[in-house]
Symmetry: none
Subunit: 213 residues, 4 copies
């Protein structure tokens, strides 16, 4: 947790530091990130850094928390705008939220990916235990459980595996989109994309024999 000196700083300065940290953690894993580069980019003195933070992990945790909060808000916003709360609509909203989050600041996407690589269980545990994350996890778990109960999705697959598949499918898609549309997405793109992912998730890649529907 950043020290109170950090929160006493002028907004501009605080943001400059966070900004430099985001650049750093998007470009480097935690282990490879460098205090020096961060202070250089944010124009503060080494000593100041340690007056704001206990150490680099302190700042790292802050950035991850920001990322998580942003993601949480994107997801929340999509869920809240839903009329139907059936499985498909909800999961589509989650996807849409995820894509919007990634495109809101591509560094967030890289930071998350770098986190997954890091094996820092300490950090991961702290994030996992956070209120926002717990809420989302519980929400998704319930969503899947209900969908299974309601016969909307298959019950022959471990629900943890389903979560994992949903997540990695999402990641593959976002990576693909960031590569295809580096300049950013517009309005309906988000719906189109989430529709496609849902389609794949639900129906797979096989062509179904045309039945008399």
């Amino acid at each position: 947790m950043p020290k109170k000196t950090f929160y006493n700083l002028r907004d501009v300065k605080r943001e400059k530091i966070v900004n430099a940290a985001m650049d750093e953690f998007a470009a480097y894993s935690f282990n490879d990130a460098s205090v020096n580069r961060i202070i250089k980019q944010s124009g503060i003195a080494v000593g100041s850094f340690y007056q704001y933070f206990d150490d680099l992990k302190d700042l790292y945790y802050l950035v991850l928390t920001l990322a998580m909060k942003s993601k949480y808000e994107h997801l929340k916003a999509e869920i809240n705008s839903l009329k139907n709360h059936d499985f498909i609509s909800t999961i589509r909203a989650l996807y849409r939220g995820g894509v919007k989050f990634a495109f809101s600041d591509k560094r967030f996407f890289d930071i998350s990916n770098n986190l997954l690589k890091s094996n820092d269980l300490d950090i991961i545990k702290r994030l996992t235990d956070s209120a926002e994350n717990s809420e989302i996890v519980e929400f998704v778990n319930n969503l899947i459980k209900d969908a299974i109960d309601n016969g909307e999705i298959r019950n022959d697959i471990d629900s943890r595996l389903i979560v994992s598949i949903i997540t990695s499918l999402n990641t593959s898609f976002i990576e693909h989109m960031l590569y295809e549309k580096p300049e950013g997405l517009y309005g309906d793109d988000y719906n189109m994309i989430s529709d496609k992912v849902i389609d794949l998730l639900m129906n797979g890649i096989a062509i179904k024999e045309v039945t008399n529907d």
Copy 2:
């Protein structure tokens, strides 16, 4: 490329070094890996290390090559045992090979994952250009292309995205299995698992309404 001196070593010693290196590269990305830890674990002197290898990358490349060769052989074995070479059978064989590879030595799985994170283009290029890898990549690309042409799988999805989905689905699954069955898999487990993944990949997670087939 390790130096001649490395191949002159007694098998036991050589294996001890490779073993230590696999532990290291499974636990740390290339950038975070440490020559010191490796020599300590394998009980050799610093000087010896540099008499065997040009530098750490030299050893890293060796380990990656071993991993790749092992994977290649697992995949090849499965493909060769196939009777039908239709898309589903083939991709199932690939999945089965992948799972067997990961369970043959879990460190291989971690090493591969760490490689993907590292952005060492030099190493990635060398591996990408290797004969084995090129063969697999071409094989999979042709497989998908043919499947699309034959109407076996959807043509509304970029084929690069399909490869990415197939891969990440595989990774999710293996991670899941390593977590569920840390003690290892047995005989039919492999078939069961690959059947399930294929099913998911092809048909998705939705329950299909029963049609009058």
Copy 3:
């Protein structure tokens, strides 16, 4: 070029470092000089060294520059105090300046000698290109050219060889004097010495038969 941090240091400390470096480069060629010895002698931490300098060459260049500036000033002072600018007077002034320079700090003499041995073309080029050096070189070249044109010195010897002879004669003399008078020279010694060298240079070691002049 030393970093800003080096120039921020207290004079005492800065001088202590330069002093240690001069001892080192007087005793060892650049290739054999050791960062460790220098920091030990100047009582700073390893880390500090690299906060002051990019590397050892950085400090080496500083020391050489100091030596060269000192030499330049000694030569300049002698030249400026000249009334007659004929060849003999001028070259005598140069000799005198050179001897004064060597006796101002004997380490300078060793440092220069060590430089000549080193084949570090990078450093040599940087020094050669410096304003002070270029000025001296051009000055001496013109001096010799004019002396040849004016019939003051022989024209049957390559002028590059003359420069080389003048230089090595000077070096021999200084070495001899440093050996003979390690405690240092006084006032008129400098004139006496330079007169002798000039005499030797101009007239050689033979005794001339007395002619009826």
Copy 4:
């Protein structure tokens, strides 16, 4: 002193080692010379090296001794061929011998120069004390002493300084010649050169006013 194992070797091998060592010590000062390069170039094993020599200095000393012996023989040959033993003739013979020595194998020249740079007093003392060197030194000292006594050369200069000047003049000249005639010298060149150096040494670079001789 090389061990007797070294002298037990076949001539070809022994010469190959000496040859590699000469290359090395011509290219690098003793401190920068590398056992590794020498064994690589001479195609022997590391272990063998230490079976022939105590250490690198041992080999270095051997090479220097060879160089000195060669120089001694060149000088001796010239002296022996003299008819007149007056100062000028003798010193000219010495110069001629020195030039012939340098051109007999340019590496000898480089090796000598590298030695001067090295501050290894141990080695220098051993060489200085050697029979050959003592003989030459004594010979030259007597030569000068006699010349002074006979009124052939000036008595107002320390005789050690004269030796030093003779030597450095010789070095300058040889360097100049190696630069001007890298392809080697022929027959009369040696006489012409030594005449010029003698002229310079005896009469200096000044043009003498024409007297009525």
